[in-house]
Amino acid sequence: MSLESEKEEKAVEALMSAALRPFEKEISDEAIQEFFDSDCTISVEGKAALERLCDDPLCNIKPHQNPQEPALEVMGDYAAMHRSLALNEVDEKTDEELERKRQEILKRIRERRRKTE
């Protein structure tokens, strides 16, 4: 192979390497949306690889113990001393109040999102 053609071969290999290399980058939401809009079908091997793993990525991670959030079993008897219901039960009024608060928060988040869009 002549020096000239060797140089050209190397140049093609260099471009090929660059095309294969996974460069460090941030993935934008636009790029993701473009991908979602394209025809993306998972491969049979890819699906099988995911199925070999647990459905919960945290299945091998112990629950985090937050000191601000006492464990239920410690709190159990103490917290339920004045209650007629079991620890995991709430009366109807409390349930309604919780749902009302929850809807309030959801509304706030929706409004904030609408403003930012």
Partner: protein, 211 residues
């Protein structure tokens, strides 16, 4: 938190709320996000890093969600920002880290780019590339080539993985594959794989007007 939410906007809101909540709520949010995105992440990463084995992609996806959970627990997660780019970026980095860890050369992106620039300097292909090159064209060439690599047999994918590290000779590729994957690929097989890769790559370049 409902365990099955089909509407994407409602899921976003539920997940945002959950990530701000108790540990159990954070965990449930992560699980919902994982179930929602894992297949699309697999599909996307298979396209982005075409030579990586699927089991490694699956592990990278899993690890990405563990990382996001850890951030949520440490209150380092800004749930007001869209989660999707974060999930995809973390999963991509995990997959790329896995590839780089096995590399003997451990080249940084700028070192790599410099090496490519030197190889292109003074060549016809290099001049043609400089004339037509744009970020968009480079991305299209790369996407098409990676799609081809995905269709190759495993041994040829291993050659592609070694080549993604820069310019390497055939004997270096043989050694590199054994070091990375403990797989024996002969020099003849490497030569054949390189020829197949180059042939296809030239076709793509020609199609894009780079000769």
């Amino acid at each position: 938190m409902p365990s099955e939410i089909t509407d994407e906007t409602d899921l976003d809101i539920e997940v945002q709320l959950g990530l701000l909540g108790t540990d159990a709520e954070k965990r449930e949010s992560i699980r919902l996000l994982y179930l929602r995105y894992r297949e699309r992440l697999m599909c996307w990463l298979e396209r982005a890093v075409s030579f990586i084995p699927v089991d490694e992609v699956a592990t990278a996806i899993n690890d990405a969600f563990v990382e996001i959970y850890t951030k949520a627990v440490a209150n380092e997660l800004n749930v007001d920002r869209p989660l999707r780019p974060l999930i995809f970026t973390v999963a991509y980095r995990r997959a790329v880290d896995g590839v780089r860890k096995r590399s003997a050369r451990q080249k940084k992106d700028d070192e790599f780019a410099q090496e490519i620039g030197i190889a292109l300097h003074g060549s016809d292909v290099g001049s043609a590339w400089r004339t037509c090159c744009s970020e968009d064209l480079a991305e299209r060439v790369s996407t098409e080539f990676r799609a081809f690599v995905r269709t190759l047999p495993q041994k040829q994918k291993l050659v592609a993985e070694a080549m993604a590290d820069g310019i390497v000779t055939d004997p270096e590729i043989v050694k590199d594959i054994y070091r990375r994957r403990r797989e024996v690929v002969s020099a003849v097989e490497v030569k054949g794989a390189k020829q197949a890769l180059k042939k296809k790559f030239r076709e793509i370049l020609n199609k894009k007007g780079i000769r």
